[in-house]
């Protein structure tokens, strides 16, 4: 009997436990899920709490209710993983041995990793909404805010749900309009990126959405400090942005046991193959959910699609074969834009978010990158989908592979109106994606990637080393030596070579 241990009973861990239990008998596979508590959080709900649109009771449920029969749920923190001995050491001293380990403990916000993020203004004028206590405290701060400077700020990418901070400013705009004090509130959106979003078309559409709401945009802001005394955020290039209420999105890091186990990078993310989510350090370790180094969003939709690919590879893994199914980085996310409307993004490693309709061209019912009521209601409905279908591994009408149909690849705007919501939603949920999309052109698949274990660059922790911030504990790595080399010329046809260089915008 193979022994599988899953660290983390959140979105990815619960989903994969359900799918694996359904796919194999208890005689073939024992499954143990480890988490530090019995509270499963619907994390997309945190966004709505500060605006009083959801209550904590709608966000938290018992993990037990979603772990199927025949799976052990162990409630205890993880001390460390000894990958060499295939053993997980728990904080209570218990040891769990495994044949296969799935790391699904995600990432956590670390406000204290930013200098000043543990200062006296935290909980007063400095807030964050990426966990339940933070979102609850912010609800009170928003309720009593009478006007002034609201600054919404992203510390550093990657973060969980990269669109949530944008949604927050959209919802704040709407919230203060409803309270008839919008004119008394200055809203500034501060990002380390060079636009509202990383990808050009989405950045333009979302940038316009900020502008039309009179929300100021401050880009390329790398935060050095939250000054609790003057109530300013200060960047490394010494820009200062004053606030009366700061809503910061803290640095997201993996848990400390990852560093203690020597499995992580400087952010405690577990380096993994982009296609198979297999650890680069150990072929019997996989990382699902936010905790790995997939170059796509840290989001529930990615966890869902990645788990689907993992399940396709599972029989090959058991048979010791090469894993041939590759994740394409597919993510989709609903963006609440306030006033009962929402937008939708759908993208992967290769394809940026475009405008258009989803999932059916010309029909939708959802419109990509456009504000519609259908998109909002789909987001609202998703909470039900999450609790009742998604995490228990039931099939959803969204496939792991992304399709280009319905997307406007040119960056022209979609003028399509959204058809009847209920009809559209019902048809989306009823139809099975395999039949619907089976013969249609797929987006460019991710190129085949090596799936065998490679030597890791993660070395034993060094005794000492410089740190950005001692509170942001991270593993230290030995780097290969720099070797000077002679550059080779391009082999392109000389007739096609442009005489002048293309210089990026700096």
């Amino acid at each position: 009997m193979r022994k599988l241990v899953i660290l983390g009973g959140g979105t990815a861990g619960t989903m994969v436990a359900n799918k694996l239990r359904a796919a194999s008998t208890q005689a073939e596979l024992s499954i143990t899920v480890v988490d530090q508590d019995d509270a499963h959080h619907y994390q997309p709900g945190y966004l709505f709490l500060p605006f009083g649109q959801l209550a904590p009771g709608q966000i938290v449920r018992s993990r037990h209710s979603f772990i199927p029969d025949g799976v052990d749920l162990v409630l205890c923190g993880v001390e460390k993983v000894d990958a060499g001995a295939k053993t997980v050491h728990l904080r209570n001293g218990r040891e769990l041995t495994y044949d296969t380990l799935i790391i699904a403990t995600g990432v956590q916000p670390r406000l204290e990793a930013t200098p000043g993020g543990d200062g006296p203004e935290v909980g007063k004028s400095v807030h964050q909404f990426y966990d339940l206590p933070g979102a609850e405290a912010l609800q009170e701060a928003m309720r009593t805010f009478q006007g002034g400077r609201l600054v919404v700020h992203i510390t550093e990418m990657p973060i969980k749900c990269p669109v949530a901070p944008l949604e927050f400013v959209f919802l704040a705009d709407s919230y203060f309009k409803d309270k008839k004090i919008r004119k008394k509130v200055d809203i500034t959106y501060v990002t380390p990126l060079d636009g509202a979003f990383t990808k050009p078309v989405a950045s333009r559409e979302l940038g316009d959405a900020l502008k039309s709401r009179n929300i100021a945009l401050e880009t390329d802001f790398a935060i050095a400090e939250i000054d609790n005394e003057t109530r300013e955020i200060i960047s490394f290039d010494e820009r200062r942005i004053p606030f009366d209420l700061l809503v910061t999105v803290p640095l997201n890091m993996g848990p400390d046991y990852i560093a203690a186990s020597g499995l992580g990078d400087e952010m405690n993310f577990v380096p993994c193959d982009q296609g198979t989510m297999r650890s680069l350090a150990d072929p019997d370790i996989f990382v699902l959910g936010d905790g790995g180094t997939l170059k796509t969003s840290k989001a529930g939709s990615v966890a869902h699609f990645a788990v689907d690919i993992f399940m396709e590879n599972w029989p090959q893994y058991l048979a010791g074969q090469q894993l041939t199914h590759n994740f394409d980085g597919h993510a989709n996310c609903f963006i609440e834009s306030g006033g009962g409307k929402g937008m939708l993004l759908d993208f992967n490693y290769e394809t940026q978010p475009y405008t258009g309709e989803f999932p059916l061209p010309g029909i939708g019912p959802m419109s990509l990158l456009k504000e519609t009521r259908a998109n909002h209601w789909a987001k609202v409905a998703f909470r039900w989908v999450y609790w009742n279908l998604l995490i228990t591994g039931k099939p959803l009408p969204f496939t792991a592979d992304m399709y280009l149909m319905g997307k406007k690849i040119e960056d022209t705007a979609s003028g399509t109106s959204t058809p009847d919501l209920l009809k559209g939603l019902a048809s989306t949920i009823i139809r099975t994606p395999a039949r619907l999309f089976g013969s249609l052109p797929k987006a460019k698949p991710a190129p085949g990637r090596p799936t065998v274990a490679r030597p890791t660059s993660v070395a034993a922790p060094k005794a000492s080393g410089p740190k950005v911030n001692p509170k942001a504990a991270a593993a230290f790595e030995a780097l290969p030596e720099y070797v000077a080399q002679q550059g080779i010329d391009s082999t392109a046809d000389p007739a096609t070579v442009l005489p002048d260089p293309i210089v990026p915008k700096f």
Partner: protein
């Protein structure tokens, strides 16, 4: 993907101008790229950062973020903004002939 002349050599770049082939870069090319990035002189301090980025890239297939440069490379973050003013992450990666670090979506 276009190919352009840089420093008298044909070099493959992406639409934004970043090099796409790790093997085409050398330190002489780095000096030329630095000029385009508005960094007129590359001091020893600049070279230490650039060499760190070059050494770090092959195993990870991804350009180190500023945080990684600071925490793993041991460089002072504030000084990176002095060495490569304005957009240090973008400038450093361009001069080192590496992809722009992904902000991730």
């Amino acid at each position: 993907m276009p190919t352009t002349m840089i420093g008298g050599r044909p070099i493959d770049v992406n639409d934004e101008g970043f090099l796409t082939d790790y093997a085409q870069w050398d330190e002489d090319l780095g000096k030329v790229l630095a000029g385009y990035a508005g960094v007129d002189e590359l001091t020893d301090e600049h070279w230490k950062v650039i060499r760190f980025l070059r050494a770090d890239f092959p195993a990870r297939k991804e350009t180190a973020t500023l945080r990684r440069v600071a925490s793993v490379g041991g460089f002072d973050m504030k000084n990176l903004f002095v060495l490569f003013p304005g957009k240090p992450a973008k400038k450093m990666s361009y001069i080192a002939g590496l992809p722009k670090p992904k902000g991730c979506v």
